[in-house]
Structures are given as structure tokens and as C-alpha cells.
């Protein structure tokens, strides 16, 4: 459903992503791992439209998206979370989710201005749908709390469900387990499987190896911007180059 071909991203003299070609397994948990500075987040940014690759193509559901902007890629069906939590802090929890749904809301400016029946209905339905999403992650009791008041773990959950709210078929999760305790990580494991049940494909960047090995169906390893290896968890764990990269490189 999504593949990248020879994607390269350069920042001045530095090649952050070097000729990376991968093909994700649909409706599975794909993980992207690699030592710090391997280019994982840059690669994410290239897919989600934050930056445009200098070379290469990204094809999602048959369409070339490498030149598209962030909001267009969201509309196309790819959503993401961020390494540093990027919630809309002054908004309530449910409003955050409703923003996530914005690509599905069809009211235009004039309908909003005049609060037409269509717009009022759409907002009501959006609110209910957003509550459903909150129930999916168990945050429904916090619907009207300011998102900044949530616990760290809940904030991460909110970010995930906000990304889902756009109806995304591909979810890019950038270190979703960062800062979570072991209980939260186990719950995340379960959540990710439940997300798969909805037909969504996941691409995960993570540093917690235990989580990665437990959860992933397929793993891609990046090192110094290039794709070092790919395979199922058992293969990756046994791969000598991967082991070398982690022991030799920085963590």
C-alpha cells in the first residue's frame, strides 16, 4: 500500500536519508529502527510531507505523494504522531480529536459563518464520532479537559487517536512509547493490535527494543541514513550487521 523508491534527503552537505527503498506490509505493524541520527525521523518527515525528498519517489495507494504537502498527505490517508508531543494544548481533548477529523468535514467557510443546518449537523456528528474515538482509547472521561492537563501517557494516546480521526489508512507513529512506563507500554502493545483490527497499517519508529521485537510484524533498520537490513524480528535480532551498528554506533 505504500512504498518508497530511492528516497534521498540532503541537508546541505549532509545526506540524512540515503537511497532508501522500502515496501510496508499492509495492515501490519512495521517498525523502523536504528541508532540515533540514523535518519528515521527525517524519513518520516519525507513521507508525511514535512520535507520534500531531493530524490526518489513515494507511492501510496498507487499515487505519487513525494511532492505533496503535509495537509494533502493527511487528506490522502496518512497521519502521524510526533517525537515531541504536538497536541493543541489550549484546546480540550475532544477538540483535538475534532481537529484531527478536519479533512473529513465538508462544511465550507460560508456554511460555518452562517451556522447552517448542514454545518450544525456535521458538527454534531463530528462530536459524536470524536467521542467514539476517545472511547477507543479510554479517554472519554477527559473529553472536556484541557489537553495540557492530561498525564503524559494519556497525551500520547490522544495524539494517536487524533491522528486516527482523519480516517488514516497509514499511521506513522514517531516514538509513541517514549516516556511511558512498562504498564503503559503493554497497553500500547494491545492498542496497536486493536488499531490493526481496524484495517490500518502502522509504521513505527521506536527505541525500546523489547517493545519493537514483541510488537512488530516486520522491521526495517536504518543506519547512517541508509537501509541496513529488513526482515521479521527473529531475522533482525540475529543479523550481525545490525548488532554491530547498535553496539558500534550511539544509543
Amino acid at each position: 500500500m505504500i512504498e518508497t523508491r530511492n528516497v534521498t534527503v540532503r541537508f546541505g552537505g549532509l545526506t540524512a536519508v540515503n537511497d532508501v527503498s522500502i515496501k510496508l506490509l499492509p495492515n501490519k505493524i512495521n517498525s523502523l529502527i536504528g541508532p540515533n541520527g540514523a535518519g528515521k525521523t527525517t524519513f518520516f518527515n519525507a513521507i508525511s510531507g514535512v520535507i520534500e525528498p531531493d530524490e526518489g519517489e513515494i507511492i501510496f495507494k498507487g499515487e505519487h505523494i513525494e511532492k505533496k504537502k503535509g495537509y494533502q498527505i493527511c487528506a490522502a490517508g496518512i497521519s502521524r504522531t510526533y517525537q515531541i508531543i504536538n497536541l493543541f494544548w489550549q484546546m480540550s481533548v475532544i477538540e483535538n480529536v475534532m481537529v484531527g477529523m478536519t479533512t473529513k468535514l465538508k462544511s465550507n467557510f460560508w456554511q460555518s459563518l452562517f451556522s447552517t443546518k448542514f454545518e450544525k449537523n456535521e458538527e454534531k456528528e463530528a462530536y459524536e464520532k470524536a467521542m467514539e474515538y476517545l472511547r477507543f482509547v479510554g479517554l472519554e472521561d477527559y473529553a472536556h479537559a484541557r489537553s495540557s492537563s492530561l498525564s503524559y501517557g494519556n497525551q500520547r494516546l490522544l495524539e494517536i487517536v487524533r491522528a486516527m480521526a482523519s480516517g488514516a489508512e497509514l499511521l506513522l507513529l514517531d516514538e509513541p512509547a517514549a516516556g511511558m512506563n512498562s504498564t503503559e507500554k503493554r497497553e500500547l502493545d494491545v492498542l496497536l493490535e486493536r488499531i490493526l483490527d481496524r484495517g490500518i497499517t502502522i509504521l513505527l519508529v521506536e527505541h525500546d527494543m523489547k517493545l519493537v521485537m514483541n510488537v512488530s510484524d516486520y522491521i526495517f533498520v536504518m543506519y547512517h541514513g541508509a537501509l541496513l537490513a529488513e526482515g521479521v524480528p527473529e531475522e533482525i535480532q540475529a543479523n550481525p550487521e545490525v548488532i554491530e551498528a547498535y553496539l558500534g554506533g550511539d544509543e
Partner: protein, 332 residues
């Protein structure tokens, strides 16, 4: 549920009566209609500041040149009135169109700018407008002399009639503003203000929405200006200068952004304060400056924000475990 409604009805009744009786009370107490005129100007400024609120309070774009839109609206209406003797039901709508168009044109490149560069761009825009009006090609704006305009015939100089006329318009503006900010559009504005990056990631076309915010904002401020010129029957280039723009901003911040009561309080307070210090003309700038400093230092949420916090604290003691905003409510 019913008990809450019953509690509110007398409150709203009082407000309504107060609002309707206000000009008469002021006239009675002060003996002249001068303060009623100030009240009317306040209503117009509320419309202008509402425009600024949409731009800054909601979509987070700073404009330090907004008075230019006010002045352009005033000049367009005034000049149409002057040169073509157009009737007022035409001049005012057309008077709103020009600032709106200019606002859109300005917004398109401006939407790329980060906040401090945006502030410089808006200042430059304001000053260019001022100098253009001051030395217009062929003097068609009558340059430094400013222009006069005819009053609206059925209102003339009757400030009390003007008050109710403006009250209706202001209320209409407030209603539509409320619709807009409670909709997807308003939500997206706030998302852009809170986190432009994430807004983009969530599918919001940030530039488009920034331009929309700017356009609506320019329209409202221009509307205020084009009615103003028929009220005061005069406008001069000075109204486009930075001083006036900063005044609008001060009113907005003093009362508190993203809140209609805040806008009302902010405008009324500052406007009447300025009237109070009118005899102290020479200290005017000093007082402006101190006011602004006070707002920035002591009241980043504006007066209304301050009251809300205070009220919430008081309410918080009555109801335990409120799930409303502000709390640091945590869960496992």
C-alpha cells in the same frame, strides 16, 4: 437543568435592560450627549477589535498595522460619498470591499511569515497606507486635510439613535463571530495558533486558513471604519498610523483575546480612560505606554481572563472535582 435556566433569565434580563437604557442613563447623568458619542465610537471599535481578535486571538497572526484597514474603509466610503455622491447603502458595502481585497492580497505573502517578521510587514503596510493617503497621486485623497463625509440621513447627529443603530450592527457581528469560532473554521484557526506544524499534519491547509483569517479580519475592521466616517463625518491619514493600530491591540489584550465580553470590556475601559485623561493631553502617550505595560506585565490573559480565573477559583471551592479546563487533573 431547569434551575440553571431560571437562574440565568433574570441575569440576562438585567443585562438587556442595562444595554438598552445605557445611553439614556449616561445622558441623564452627564447632562450632555458627548459621552453617548464616545459610547458609539466604542461600539465601532468593538467591531474593529473583533476583527483583530479573529486574526491574533484565534489564528495567532499579529498585526500592528490594522488601523490601516480601518482608515482604508473610511476613506473608500468617504471618497465615494464625496466624488460620486453615492447613497450610503452603497458606499458602506463598497467601502468594506476595498480593505477586504487589500487584506487578502497582503495576506497571501504575509501568511508565510513568522510572527516577528509579520509584525514588521504589518507595520510597513500601515505606514505605506498612511503616506499614500497623506500625499496621494493627484491629491485625490485630499492629503493631510482629510475628508469630510455626510452623516447617515435618518440618524443625523442624534447619538442616541446612532447608539441603537450601532448596537444592532455590533450584535450581528458578535453573533456571526460566535458562529465562526465555534465551527470547524474557528477550531482550525486555533489549531494553527497552537501548533502550526501539527495543524498541517492534521490536514489543515495552513496558508489558506491564515489568509481567510486575515481577510475576515480586514473586512470587519474596514466595516468599522466605513461606518465611522459617516458617524464622525471626518477622517484623516493619521488614523492609519501605528499609534492607532497599537491602540486596537491594547484594547484587545487588555480585555482578553478570544472572548466577546473581553472585547467589550477592553474597548470600553480604554476608550473611557482616554476620555478621562483628555485634559492631560500631554501625558497621553505616557499613559498609553503605561497601560500597555500593565497589560503585558500583569494581565497576559486580559482583564476578562483575570476575572474568569478568579471566578473559577471561587467556583472551584463550591464544586469539587470539576472536569472543566484549568485543572491539573491527572490519571494513571
Amino acid at each position: 437543568m431547569n434551575s440553571i435556566k431560571n437562574k440565568n433569565i433574570p441575569k440576562y434580563l438585567i443585562y438587556t435592560v442595562l444595554i438598552l437604557a445605557l445611553p439614556f442613563l449616561i445622558q441623564m447623568i452627564s447632562g450632555t450627549t458627548y459621552l453617548v458619542m464616545i459610547l458609539c465610537i466604542s461600539l465601532l471599535y468593538m467591531i474593529a477589535v473583533t476583527g483583530l481578535d479573529l486574526l491574533f486571538g484565534y489564528s495567532g497572526q499579529i498585526s500592528m498595522g490594522h488601523a490601516a484597514f480601518f482608515t482604508i474603509g473610511a476613506y473608500t466610503t468617504g471618497l465615494l460619498n464625496h466624488y460620486f455622491d453615492m447613497p450610503l447603502w452603497l458606499t458602506i458595502p463598497i467601502g468594506c470591499i476595498l480593505p477586504t481585497i487589500i487584506g487578502t492580497i497582503l495576506a497571501i505573502p504575509a501568511s508565510k511569515l513568522k510572527f516577528h517578521f509579520l509584525s514588521l510587514a504589518t507595520i510597513a503596510f500601515g505606514e505605506i497606507t498612511y503616506y499614500f493617503l497623506y500625499t496621494s497621486p493627484g491629491g485625490f485623497t485630499f492629503d493631510f486635510k482629510g475628508i469630510g463625509a455626510k452623516p447617515i440621513s435618518f440618524l443625523g447627529q442624534n447619538y442616541i439613535k446612532w447608539y441603537f443603530f450601532l448596537l444592532v450592527i455590533t450584535i450581528i457581528v458578535f453573533v456571526f463571530k460566535t458562529y465562526l469560532v465555534n465551527s470547524k473554521v474557528g477550531r482550525n484557526f486555533i489549531a494553527i495558533r497552537e501548533n502550526t506544524h501539527a495543524a498541517d499534519g492534521m490536514g489543515i491547509n495552513v496558508r489558506k486558513y491564515k489568509v481567510i483569517a486575515f481577510t475576515v479580519s480586514a473586512f470587519l475592521t474596514g466595516l468599522a471604519g466605513s461606518i465611522y466616517v459617516h458617524f464622525i463625518q471626518y477622517i484623516s491619514p493619521e488614523s492609519a498610523q501605528q499609534k492607532q493600530s497599537v491602540l486596537f491591540l491594547t484594547m484587545l489584550l487588555f480585555g482578553g483575546t478570544t472572548s466577546i465580553p473581553g472585547t467589550i470590556i477592553g474597548v470600553l475601559f480604554i476608550e473611557f480612560l482616554l476620555e478621562l485623561i483628555r485634559p492631560l493631553q500631554e501625558y497621553q502617550m505616557l499613559i498609553y505606554g503605561i497601560m500597555l505595560l500593565v497589560v503585558v506585565v500583569a494581565l497576559p490573559g486580559g482583564i476578562y481572563g483575570g476575572f474568569k480565573d478568579l471566578a473559577a477559583k471561587i467556583r472551584g471551592r463550591k464544586k469539587a472535582g470539576t472536569d472543566k479546563t484549568d485543572g491539573k487533573a491527572n490519571a494513571g
